[in-house]
Symmetry: C2
Subunit: 233 residues, 2 copies
């Protein structure tokens, strides 16, 4: 059995995608915490291009980017499959994974550092995108993957746990049960899965981390010349 | 044999990714040109979420997003493989496909509508990213895929043909042979592949298209209030 090592950073939901996938497949691995303010030799050697976590090192060979790592894990350890077997269903799962990457990132970047009235506007835009995800992908299923969790659930895991802390830090909720009832139910379902529930960062620590990150972003914005101050995009 | 249909738009390099992959695998298909200013019922029905091309319809089932379509094609028609068999090498190829999506898009969006002195700055930023691609992925190989073209070459196809027209429209070159010699050689190598050379949009028409698109973007910028006018990001 070749050694499996994961370079991570404790609050990162992207790192948890990899942790969950490995645990769901019962793959033993060593976790190495990275200090991103003082990147290790290991990280710089194994991910010289992006210098980011997560990095998976398997038998001495490194793979970066969480979506790429998830595909590698699925291929290397086929037990407890995370993607559908049917090529068309698999393509749909990948479409929704890509949707998160493309559509949610700019909206998230507007929401998280938003202040004052901007926050409601940014939360509404977020809800509009999540409504598409709820309507077109989740529907009335227990999980995005159907009856059991799959790769799409893992990729959207941030919405299930990290999001509560982010909403609290921002002060405006996005996943309102009255607006996104099925996504709200999915959050509960996901947190009931033991592998997920047993592998989460500490809530209080995460909340403090997001509060500090947000304060830094907000104060960086307030030093910009106007009118960029009021440009939420 | 189930029917294969491709919804496309003639100047789109994303559509050509799919055309090239299908041609390289000798898959017969019907091409349907979309008028993106007046989207067809077919497009709205088959890609209701993004309403974009390319869309591949195989046996009545639709798949959107060019990277997702490429993976589907590779899996459905395994002849003339476009991805390496080795899982680690396959992960590296996917990493570089993702790199283009994440790193090049914002830089491209700064370069294409840039005016005056901004253009040189934006071109230099572009060159820095392409240098990483050249050094870390292409190296001294004939193609990104090695001796024959693969999925990474297909994904970066835009750099090989569309880019010349864009550079002419912007008026500042990015792929300078003195700065990016190996990428410059790769452009030549790719255009010598008959499937690529036989499946390209018309140069003059493409140049006119980019000139018009750029004029629209530049004039939209000039109607924005200052100082956003001078914000290239």
């Amino acid at each position: 059995m070749e050694e499996v090592k994961l370079l991570g950073f404790w609050p990162s939901p992207f790192v948890y995608r990899v942790i969950w996938a490995l645990r769901l497949k019962d793959v033993q691995f060593d976790y190495v915490e990275e200090d991103l303010s003082n990147k290790s030799e290991l990280l710089l050697r194994y991910n010289p291009v992006l210098k980011k976590v997560p990095v998976l090192i398997h038998g001495g060979k490194a793979i970066a980017e969480s979506l790429v790592i998830l595909e590698y894990i699925e291929e290397t350890w086929p037990q407890n499959p995370l993607l559908p077997k049917d090529p068309h269903e698999k393509a749909l799962a990948r479409f929704w994974m890509q949707f998160g990457l493309e559509k949610m990132r700019p909206i998230h970047q507007a929401y998280f550092p938003a202040i004052g009235e901007e926050r409601e506007k940014a939360a509404k835009q977020y809800q509009e995108v999540l409504k598409i995800l709820e309507d077109q992908c989740l529907g009335d299923q227990r999980f995005f993957g159907g009856e059991t969790i799959g790769m799409v659930d893992i990729v959207y895991g941030m919405l299930a746990y990290w999001f509560e802390c982010m909403e609290e830090a921002v002060g405006v909720k996005v996943i309102e049960p009255s607006i996104l009832p099925r996504l709200h139910a999915w959050v509960k379902n996901l947190k009931q899965v033991s592998v997920i529930n047993d592998n989460l960062p500490h809530h209080g620590k995460l909340l403090a981390y997001y509060k500090t990150s947000r304060e830094k972003l907000v104060s960086a914005r307030s030093t910009l010349p106007t009118p960029s101050n009021h440009d939420a995009s």
